[in-house]
């Protein structure tokens, strides 16, 4: 199971507490994880990446294993520790604004 940590506003929107656990078929990439997340929680579509272009929303970043994976290609494999479920994949909202 892939573990995903969402920012608080998205946890509220998806009505989940704590980490989300997802089955991700095939290669574990950022795109595949987000596909699985949006399929399981349709209300999150458009909140992390644009509905049409699927580009990351500008104020969000992706971290895992103490690395910033934001600018990795969406089809690049995520670290083995994420694929095995040992480490979570983090969706982070920028600390900005008031």
């Amino acid at each position: 199971m892939i573990r995903v940590v969402l920012p608080p506003h998205l946890r509220t929107l998806a009505q989940v507490k704590g980490e989300v656990q997802l089955e991700v078929p095939g290669r574990v990439t950022r795109g595949a994880v987000l596909d699985a997340l949006e399929a399981r929680y349709p209300m999150l579509r458009g909140t992390i990446r644009d509905h049409v272009t699927e580009r990351r929303r500008p104020f969000l970043r992706f971290f895992a294993c103490e690395r910033d994976l934001t600018h990795d290609p969406p089809d690049a494999p995520l670290p083995e520790a994420v694929a095995s479920g040992a480490e979570p994949f983090l969706v982070i909202g920028a600390i900005a604004g008031g």
Partner: protein, 392 residues
């Protein structure tokens, strides 16, 4: 037992203020969607328990919320897993995609950018939700960048009425300071084929065929801040309003000038009269007196708060030109708030109730058509919108 439900959208969440028939006792619920901007919330005229809310954030984009129990609980339409024989369909929840199809949409057009160049349409947020007068599952959404969308499945999916954006004048539209937003949607209660919209900064438009085709209705508007002050489009219309008994008479608060049309927008004349300033955002019509209208004059162009530190609603009982200040119960010193374009509404009780919210977080109510005022709440986040439902 009658009462009212006031729906308040703020910079940091939504609030629902429920009042008794006398509009003296209030129950406040919220914040709903805490921390999110709620640009607008409105109830269906066909089902008072059906509410729609526009929830947005710079981080997470646009969410549509729907309530079927008068705001006690909310859901994102299309946000629930619904398995079909083919599996889980890819959700369309909250999707506002401009129609660029060859069948119904023009190719995605461009509009004028701040520097005068052409810029492609980019969806940013929903400014205004206008539920159908007859069907709770049908609603219209006015969005930034300016476009009009419709849902007929209770908000699960939205389709653009692309004839507005693509009718030809789009390349001359330009964003105002708040963005290029479609902020007003008026439905004609006597003619289901007729509707009006208003856009900053493009102007007012009318459709007589249910939203398929559109035409600008800006003749008589004069705006010194555009190269041709009498241009067909480019005017910064802030809000338009009509009375349900006389829907061809329109009232407009423009960036500057309060205007009136007696021919469904085909021509306009100024009715600013003796207002202390003719700049403002809100305008609304008394529920029972179609010639009684309300505005809140605002000091502009750079300040955008009420003049002289006094919060004054102005009322005209003659459809404009002659205005009287309404001040009883409103702060008359050291007040520097604004009242934004969607932040005023009227109920249909007798006497007519009038409500407005300020950027200082106050929501004021008058149970006597504006003669006197009292705050329902004083310390909300900045108010973006106020709507009211009359419950009978």
């Amino acid at each position: 037992m009658s009462g009212v439900r006031v729906l308040v959208g703020t910079r940091k969440g939504a609030f629902i203020l429920t009042g008794d028939g006398k509009r003296k006792q209030w129950d406040v619920s919220g914040p709903h969607f805490a921390g999110w901007e709620i640009y607008h919330m409105k109830g269906s005229p066909a089902d008072a328990n059906r509410l729609y809310a526009s929830q947005s954030s710079g981080w997470f984009g646009q969410i549509i919320q729907r309530s079927c129990d008068g705001g006690k609980t909310w859901e994102t339409p299309g946000g629930v897993l619904e398995k079909t024989p083919e599996g889980f369909p890819k959700g369309e929840s909250n999707k506002f995609a401009y129609d660029a199809s060859p069948e119904t949409g023009k190719p995605l057009t461009t509009h004028q950018w701040y520097d005068g160049t052409q810029h492609p349409w980019e969806f940013k947020r929903v400014w205004h939700l206008e539920p159908s007068l007859s069907d709770p599952d049908t609603a219209y959404a006015g969005v930034e960048d300016a476009g009009l969308f419709r849902t007929s499945d209770g908000g699960k999916t939205w389709q653009e009425l692309a004839g507005l954006r693509g009718h030809g004048t789009g390349p001359k539209w330009q964003p105002g300071a708040g963005g290029m937003c479609l902020h007003t949607v008026l439905l004609d209660p006597s003619n289901p084929r007729r509707m009006y919209v208003a856009i900053s900064a493009a102007g007012a438009f009318r459709s007589d065929d249910g939203g398929t085709t559109w035409k600008p209705i800006n003749r008589g508007l004069r705006s010194q801040y555009i190269p041709d002050p009498n241009a067909e489009v480019g005017h910064c219309v802030h809000r338009i309003a009509l009375h349900r008994s006389r829907p061809a008479v329109l009232f407009m608060q423009k960036h500057w000038d309060v205007m009136r049309s007696d021919d469904a927008g085909d021509s306009w004349r100024e009715v600013s009269g003796n207002l202390p300033t003719d700049f403002g955002f809100v305008i609304d019509v008394h529920a029972h007196e179609p010639e009684t209208i309300y505005v809140v004059p605002i000091k502009s162009d750079s300040e955008h708060y009420v003049p002289d530190g006094k919060l004054r609603m102005y009322r005209s009982r003659s459809g404009g030109t002659e205005w009287e200040p309404l001040t009883k119960g409103l702060p008359q010193r050291d007040c520097y708030v604004n009242v934004l374009r969607d932040a005023m509404a009227v109920d249909t009780l007798e006497p007519c109730g009038v409500y407005f919210g300020t950027t200082g977080g106050q929501v004021y109510a008058s149970a006597d058509a504006g003669d006197s005022w009292a705050p329902i709440v004083r310390d909300l986040p900045a108010v973006l919108s106020v709507e009211v439902q009359t419950l009978r």
